[in-house]
């Protein structure tokens, strides 16, 4: 009788006492976080202990984005940016060629992902370009997309590439780990944007003729003296596409990497407080995830779709 009363009825969940598991885990994390701040304050105190390099101004947090030449082959200089470009092209071509050589009627996960990417990009091109243009420029748009995407994504993998700072391992000087991306240097997006700008201008001139293209930049239905006012603005905005295309990608990536670095400890180094490093760490992790999961793909997509839109707009008749 007592045994029966003690055993909970089978199939029924045991009643929960208090909080759910997730809530408990979250609260313990918050506890560890706040406790850590207290521990750091007890261990190192509130007073700042700036590193000598910080006090003297030798240390600069932006130095990790500097492109020091590692070595030269004739006129060709190798640096961190070049390494990232080579990794990017190796992964881009390697992955795509690997998939293309093993295409199956019943695709695996990777093939499905690549096919989805392909279909998505093809749809994007078809929406913005007519048939001829689409056939001509789909490879360019898709390559831009995948190239920037891969470049952005490998930018969130910490690699030992910070030649400005080193650490010793078994007596060897090894460059510090950092997260870097080739597109944190304005050169990367600028040259791609320039390429796109040249292409859509070329297509516009080819389609409308030189005078016609310049005229096509004007919105339809504007007549009279106001043309004199609108026209320079339109010309300017056309050139500003080059700037916006460049700056959007570059600034997003650079600012993202800097924010992660700052929140991940650099700010604490600069102010000289250890507890600040611990305090900001969760924000560093959050920003890292936000950048790697959302921004990397989003910026690649925006660059690709703007390329399609600009190319389509250039040959469109008002």
């Amino acid at each position: 009788m007592s045994a029966m009363a003690a055993a909970p009825p089978a199939g029924l969940p045991t009643p929960e006492h208090g909080m759910s598991k997730g809530r408990k885990a979250l609260l313990s994390l918050v506890g560890v976080w706040i406790g850590g701040v207290v521990v750091f304050i007890i261990l190192f105190g509130f007073k700042s202990h700036k590193a000598p390099a910080v006090v003297s101004g030798v240390f600069s947090p932006t130095d990790e984005f500097k492109l020091d030449t590692w070595f030269k082959l004739g006129p060709v200089a190798f640096n961190k940016g070049v390494l990232y470009l080579l990794i990017t092209v190796a992964i881009t071509i390697g992955l795509m060629a690997y998939i293309a050589r093993r295409l199956k009627q019943r695709p695996g996960r990777l093939q499905v992902a690549v096919e989805m990417f392909y279909n998505f990009t093809r749809g994007m091109s078809k929406e913005n370009l007519d048939n001829d243009m689409q056939r001509k420029y789909f490879p360019l748009i898709a390559t831009i997309f995948v190239f920037i995407l891969v470049s952005n994504l490998i930018g969130y993998i910490p690699l030992p590439v910070d030649s400005g700072e080193t650490f010793k391992l078994f007596g060897a000087s090894i460059p510090s780990f950092q997260i870097y991306a080739a597109d944190t240097n304005v050169a990367f997006p600028l040259i791609l944007a320039l390429g796109v700008f040249v292409l859509f201008t070329y297509e516009g001139v080819r389609h409308h003729g030189p005078i016609g293209y310049v005229k096509s930049l004007m919105p339809g239905g504007i007549k009279g003296p106001i043309v004199g006012l609108i026209f320079p603005i339109e010309i300017l905005s056309n050139f500003l596409r080059l700037v916006s295309l460049t700056v959007r990608l570059w600034a997003n990536l650079l600012a993202g990497h800097m924010l992660i670095a700052f929140m991940g400890g650099e700010l604490g180094v600069l102010v000289g407080d250890q507890w600040v490093q611990w305090l900001l760490l969760p924000f560093g992790v959050a920003i890292y995830l936000f950048e790697a999961v959302l921004i990397a793909g989003l910026q690649a997509f925006i660059f690709a779709i703007l390329t399609a839109i600009y190319l389509g707009g250039a040959v469109e008749s008002h």
């Binding site: 003297s56 101004g57 030798v58 600069s60 932006t62 130095d63 984005f65 500097k66 492109l67 060709v76 200089a77 640096n79 940016g81 070049v82 470009l85 080579l86 990017t88 092209v89 881009t92 071509i93 795509m96 060629a97 998939i99 293309a100 050589r101 295409l103 009627q105 690549v114 096919e115 392909y118 279909n119 093809r122 789909f138 490879p139 360019l140 898709a142 390559t143 995948v146 190239f147 080739a182 240097n185 304005v186 050169a187 990367f188 600028l190 040259i191 791609l192 390429g195 650079l254």
Partner: protein
Amino acid sequence: MLPATTVPLASSGSFLISPNVGLMIWTIVVFLISLFILRKWVFPLIGEALDKRAETIAGDIDAAAALRKDSEKLLAEYRERLHEARGQADEIVKRARTTADAHEQEARTHAQELTAEGKARAEREIAEATRRALAEIRDEVAKLTILAAEKVTRKSLDESDQRRLVEEALGELDFSAIASTAPTDAANN
């Protein structure tokens, strides 16, 4: 006098916004190589595979639709046949029942006829037997009558006397009672 230049003021950050020309060249070269390879060898293969699969799927869908149409037709046909067969079966059962009923009726009638006939025959035979018995009794009575008369009178009677005696004796006997009861007793037995 020189601190501004001796301290490596990278913190001025000018390198952050000035594009590295070498990297620009690297970028465009590497990008064009990627574009060339992907355009020539990768994208066509993927596009072809996707088109092929789309075709296969379209073919499969068409085939499935045709198959479905066929099977629906077949099903309708079978249903019709089944319906027909059921109708035929019903008809056969109905006919069999009618035949059986008819046979039953016939058998019953036949039996009744046979019974009636048997009864009639039996009655006839009884009547015949009764008649024969009566005749025999009559003969016996006649003989006994003659014998009795000869014993009483001590002389033999001539033929006319005999006839007259028998006629008189038989006239006095009532056979009708025997004749009317005998056949019914035989039928009851």
